[in-house]
Every structure is written in structure tokens, then in C-alpha cells.
């Protein structure tokens, strides 16, 4: 993807707070490119997902090609290239959670939100019609002692049952 080929509707730029954070970040590394992941995290927090405009902006900031940014974005599951819901619900489904019935939690969420599970290449599939929730499966969240677990945006919820899931969703 060369830069001319990217259709950029609305350009992206950091707001003042993120700009400050970025300025602090960039000084930590001997090469600018190394600030890639934290910069993308900042940008995603501001923009909601990584748009072509974000990639172009980050590429300019870090003095790398847009292709390089795209390369990184596609590698890591935490970066989204499509819009996601206001609340991203990550359901762990690796073995220890599976041994503690995470499937019940997942099925309950699917039914309750009336949505499928997002795949990495199709986030819309797991996003509710009102754009409020995106439901996805993730691998072990390093909380197997309190399995099954889910993460809603930045918060972890433990020892879940369908009733507790209802409670979590009601309190959002």
C-alpha cells in the first residue's frame, strides 16, 4: 500500500493530552520506531480503531513507511482495523477456562446480546446492531485461577456464571 493509494477522509492527529503522552514516550527509546506499540495504543484509544488516517499519522510521527505500521497493526490482535462497539467483551476460552465452563458464559452472552462472535477479520460479525457491544473470544487472560473470566474493555470479571454476566452487563 503506497501512501497515495490510501483514501483519507478525515485526517487524524493526537489531542493535546495524547500528544503530551507521546512526547514523553518517544524519549524512552533510542530509535523512534520502537515507540510503535504504545503509540498505536494511544491512537486507538483516541480514534476507536486504527483507520488509514491513523496509520499515516503514526508513520509520519515515527518516521517509518505506512506499510510498516500496517504490518504491525495486522499482526497484533489488540489493534482493530474496523469499528468496534463501545464495549469490547473478550471471553477467554482456553483450556483452564474451558474446564470451568466458559462455553456457558459465551453462549449466554451470544444469546443475550443477540450477536455472533467476532473474528479477527470480521469484527462487524460480533458487533451488536446498536454498536454498543463487540463480542470476541480471546486466549488465556492469565487469570485461570478465577476462571471463567471475561474482560469488558479494560476490566476483568471473574468466576462468571450467566447470572453474574447479567449483573456485569447491567452495571455498565
Amino acid at each position: 500500500m503506497s501512501e497515495e493509494l490510501i483514501q483519507i477522509e478525515t485526517p487524524f492527529a493526537f489531542n493535546a493530552e495524547n500528544q503530551r503522552e507521546f512526547d514523553e514516550l518517544i524519549g524512552r527509546y533510542p530509535i523512534k520506531e520502537a515507540a510503535m506499540l504504545p503509540t498505536l495504543h494511544l491512537a486507538q484509544r483516541q480514534a476507536g480503531y486504527i483507520t488509514p488516517a491513523v496509520m499515516k499519522y503514526v508513520a509520519e510521527l515515527l518516521e517509518v513507511t505506512v506499510m510498516k505500521v500496517k504490518d504491525v497493526v495486522t499482526f497484533y490482535p489488540m489493534f482493530f482495523e474496523e469499528p468496534v462497539g463501545e464495549y469490547v467483551i473478550r471471553v477467554c476460552h482456553t483450556l483452564p477456562c474451558a474446564l470451568r465452563d466458559c462455553k456457558v458464559v459465551l453462549d449466554h452472552l451470544k444469546a443475550k446480546l443477540d450477536t455472533d462472535i467476532a473474528s479477527e477479520t470480521n469484527l462487524a460479525k460480533g458487533t451488536t446492531a446498536d454498536g454498543k457491544f463487540t463480542l470476541m473470544k480471546v486466549e488465556c487472560l492469565a487469570s485461570c485461577d478465577v476462571a471463567p473470566v471475561i474482560m469488558v474493555n479494560d476490566d476483568l470479571y471473574k468466576n462468571l456464571t450467566p447470572e453474574k454476566v447479567d449483573e456485569v452487563l447491567d452495571n455498565l
Binding site: I31, L40, L95, C144, D154
Partner: protein, 491 residues
């Protein structure tokens, strides 16, 4: 009953231990102060070597030895703290980061002093939002109190610590994957050598160390090597003349999950048995233990015949498994091993970084075979193949006999062994992720072959009773799947 010995986790539940002042009340940073006041950097490195501390992140490599490979004359040298805890079944680092981050900072300071390192990156898993928040707050406080930054406590020592978030890729836990990721690229592991100790992040010597490993350092310095080495068994490795001590010293943060009544992290001396650990964790949830995964999902499975295996680095290596990250997953009699393997293979198929062909294609292939078997569509044709096992010369090889095996089981084994061969311990891949795939695949299949066979035969998932699901060790070549030097086995 085995007692917990809390050292790293001793003050974990003290309210506000995450703040500098409270941490300080519990001897916080005094071990670092002792290190700089009483010892030269080389002496600290020697102490760590003598302590026998082994890396807690997965490979179990001697920390002191790793430090000795770092060239002292190339500067800058970096420390990367591996806080990318993502091995399924492992969750001990999370608690340190969330509850007691100053302990990690103190460990890092000691390592930096010993190795002449001025910059540390803590690569923290992207999902650990709370952990990162607590850690960042602790780092900020340590700067304010003069324990980080320039000229620490007037000693001329400069140390900077930065936290660096990952973004959800398991492979970034592999040390060279971590380094690539830290440099702002895809987290695709590098070929070794050169090892990170010689050429790591930004092409400079780099020490990569797990959170738990670093948290051991304050206690080694504070209480001395002698105190440290009395914990845990030390074996004699008789392959060397004179025998070399093979240390399994210190405590381990065992993470136990699955079918036990009280899953959690238990800090215990290395070297207790599976049975003892299950007992410590509130006993089994269910009637009988069917299987135990001893070291995170990458480790070969143990059957109910092997529950007296001691959970330390050496004993598990001799049992052809590994302690890995210390994530112990227990399965009771209701579990289906085919189903468990399917879950794990989905994980690996998802997490392969895609660099090497055997891993990129082989891992989904293994997953698909297991999926097919679990769905009841396993190929029922059988083939006759040479039977492998311990041959006459005592080594792994062709026994001269033949055996009948379902086509899909042979295929499963063959695909997995072509990613990484668990019998010869050679891998056709850049990193040992390959081994982490074929180890579970081959060990589950070989050890629980009756269950796999029943599932294929019946055309649906069949869960056999524990006694029938596996074959006794004497009759099962799975237990001899790897050549272990005789002298070592006699320990």
C-alpha cells in the same frame, strides 16, 4: 501436608504494599541498598550463579550462567523484563504486577547494578491494564523517592525503567519475539545464535528475564546464598566428572487451575509432587485425577501413573516433560483428552507467528486432524508401521516390531513431528514454539491412545474411565519417547 513457604508472595496481601511507604516498612529497597553498599557488581553476579536460580519464565535456564554470557565491554546493555505472561495456565506474574510492583523494581535495580545496565524495559502484556497502571504508578513513585533515575542515592548509579505494552500476541513472550516487538515490529522470533545476551534489543547485549526470576533477586541478596540454596532439592548430574550440582533451589510460584477445589498461586519449595500440590490446592474436584499438565499448555501431559513426579526442573525433564512456567492444569475423570488437545491446538494454531512454514501450516493441520477426530470423522483405516520405542541399544529407535495404528493418529504424529520432533528433540522451526506444539500433540496422543482410538472407532467423543484411557508405563512407549542419558536417569 506440605506447607506453603511465602517469600515472594509474603507481603502480597498487605494493604497498600503497592505504595512506596508501605513497601519500605516491609524491608523494601533495603536489599538493594545492601547490594550497593556491601558488594561489587561482580560479587552479586557470582551470588546469583551460586544460588542456582533458574529462570522461571519457561526455559529454566540458569540465570547466573546467562549473565555470564553478556559481554561486559559493549555498552549500552539492556534489561528486558518479560511480563508478557500468556502461557495458558500461568498467572503468577499478574499478581506481582498488580499488588507488589515495587518488589519487581527492586529486583530490576539489583540486576541492573550487577550487570551495569542503565535502561530496562518491562514488556507487559497488553491485556494487563490494571497491572500496567499499578506498575507505572510504582515506577513514578520510585523516581520521586530517588530510587530510579540519575545518580541513585548518591552512588552514581543511573537506572531508568520503562513499561512497554504488548498487544495480545502470545509469541511476544518468546525472548527474541519480545525483542522484535519492543523494537516496534511484528513479534516474530529471531534465529539464534546470536543469543540476546550477545545481540538483543537495538542490536545490543540484552538480558531477558521473567518477572518471577527478578523478584527472587532481593531475597538472594538480602538473606544470602546459603539461606537460598537450602530450599528445594539439588541433584547431582553424573554426566559430568566430578558430578555437577543440578540445583532446583528456591521457591516456585505454582499456578494451579482446572479441577481442584481451590485454584490459585501457591508458593512452595521446588520439588514437591503432583499429589502434594493438588492436596495443597484444596484437593481434587472430582473422583480421580485423569491427567495433569505440569508446566503450562506447552508441557507434555502426565497421567495418573505419574502423580508422584516431583515438580522441579530436573525431575520433570527426566519424566520427559517440563516445569515450564509452573502453570499446572489438573483434569479429572470426566474430561476428554481429545477435547482438551483440540482446545490447546486451537490456541497454537491461532498464535503461530507465521514465519516458518512447518509451524505456519503444520499447526493448523494438527488442529484440523484433532478437530476431525473430535467431530467423529476420524479416518478409520489402519496402517501398519514400524514400532518405535527403546531399542536394544537402550536408545530410542526402531524396535524391529510392527504395529497397527489408525491413519489419523499416524498422520497426527507425523505432522507434529515434522514441526518439531519430540523424540530427537530437534525442531524445523526458528523458535521452540514448534516444540510447544508437538509436545502436547504427541504426548496426549501417545499416552491416551485408547481414548483417541475409541473416539475414532465410535465416531463420537468417547470419554473412557481413567484406568482404561491410558496404558501403563511399562507397556507404553510414550514414556520413553525421549532419549535420556542413563546416568542422569539413575539420580
Amino acid at each position: 501436608m506440605v506447607e506453603e513457604r511465602r517469600i515472594l508472595y509474603e507481603h502480597l496481601d498487605v494493604p497498600d504494599i503497592n505504595t512506596f511507604d508501605v513497601f519500605r516498612q516491609y524491608d523494601g529497597y533495603t536489599r538493594f541498598e545492601k547490594a550497593i553498599a556491601e558488594y561489587q557488581p561482580e560479587e552479586i553476579a557470582q551470588m546469583v550463579l551460586d544460588s542456582g536460580l533458574k529462570g522461571r519464565g519457561g526455559a529454566g535456564f540458569s540465570t547466573g550462567e546467562k549473565w555470564s554470557f553478556v559481554p561486559r565491554d559493549i555498552k549500552p546493555c539492556y534489561l528486558c523484563c518479560n511480563a508478557d505472561e500468556s502461557e495458558p495456565g500461568t498467572f503468577s506474574n499478574r499478581y506481582v504486577l498488580e499488588k507488589n510492583p515495587h518488589l519487581l523494581i527492586e529486583g530490576i535495580l539489583i540486576c541492573c547494578y550487577a550487570m551495569g545496565i542503565e535502561t530496562t524495559y518491562i514488556y507487559i502484556r497488553g491485556e494487563f491494564t490494571l497491572g500496567k497502571k499499578m506498575l507505572d504508578a510504582a515506577i513514578k513513585e520510585a523516581y520521586e523517592k530517588g530510587y530510579l533515575g540519575k545518580d541513585i542515592r548518591g552512588t552514581g548509579l543511573n537506572v531508568d525503567i520503562y513499561s512497554h505494552p504488548g498487544a495480545g500476541a502470545y509469541i511476544c513472550g518468546e525472548e527474541t519475539g519480545l525483542i522484535e516487538s519492543l523494537e516496534g515490529k511484528r513479534g516474530q522470533p529471531r534465529n539464534k545464535p546470536p543469543f540476546p545476551a550477545v545481540e538483543g534489543v537495538f542490536r545490543k547485549p540484552t538480558v531477558v528475564q521473567n518477572v518471577e526470576t527478578l523478584c527472587n533477586l532481593p531475597f538472594i541478596v538480602g538473606n544470602g546464598v546459603e539461606w537460598y540454596t537450602q530450599m528445594g532439592p539439588t541433584y547431582a548430574d553424573t554426566r559430568f566428572d566430578p558430578p555437577k550440582p543440578d540445583a532446583n533451589t528456591g521457591t516456585k510460584l505454582y499456578c494451579i487451575s482446572g479441577d481442584v477445589n481451590e485454584p490459585g498461586v501457591y508458593e512452595l519449595d521446588l520439588g514437591l509432587t503432583c499429589t502434594e500440590l493438588i492436596e495443597v490446592a484444596g484437593g481434587l474436584r472430582g473422583e480421580e485425577v485423569k491427567a495433569v499438565i505440569p508446566g503450562g499448555s506447552s508441557a507434555p501431559i502426565l497421567t495418573h501413573y505419574e502423580l508422584d513426579t516431583r515438580l522441579d526442573f530436573t525431575s520433570l525433564t527426566l519424566a520427559k516433560s517440563m516445569l515450564g512456567s509452573g502453570g499446572i492444569i489438573v483434569m479429572n475423570e470426566t474430561r476428554n483428552i481429545v477435547d482438551c488437545l483440540l482446545n490447546i491446538m486451537k490456541f497454537y494454531a491461532h498464535e503461530s507467528c507465521g514465519q516458518c512454514t512447518p509451524c505456519r501450516w503444520g499447526t493448523p493441520w494438527v488442529r484440523d486432524i484433532v478437530q476431525r477426530i473430535a467431530d467423529g470423522n476420524g479416518r478409520k483405516d489402519t496402517i501398519t508401521r514400524p514400532k518405535f520405542g527403546v531399542a536394544e541399544n537402550g536408545r530410542w529407535g526402531d524396535t524391529g516390531e510392527t504395529e497397527e495404528i489408525y491413519e489419523d493418529l499416524d498422520l497426527l504424529e507425523s505432522v507434529a513431528n515434522n514441526i518439531a520432533n519430540v523424540d530427537t528433540m530437534t525442531w524445523n522451526t526458528i523458535c521452540v514454539f514448534g516444540i510447544a506444539v508437538s509436545w502436547p500433540a504427541v504426548s496426549y496422543m501417545r499416552k491416551f491412545r485408547p481414548e483417541f482410538e475409541a473416539t475414532i472407532r465410535e465416531g463420537k467423543l468417547v470419554t473412557l474411565p481413567v484406568a482404561e484411557a491410558t496404558v501403563p508405563p511399562e507397556e507404553n512407549y510414550a514414556y520413553q519417547q525421549r532419549f535420556v542419558p542413563k546416568e542422569f536417569a539413575d539420580l
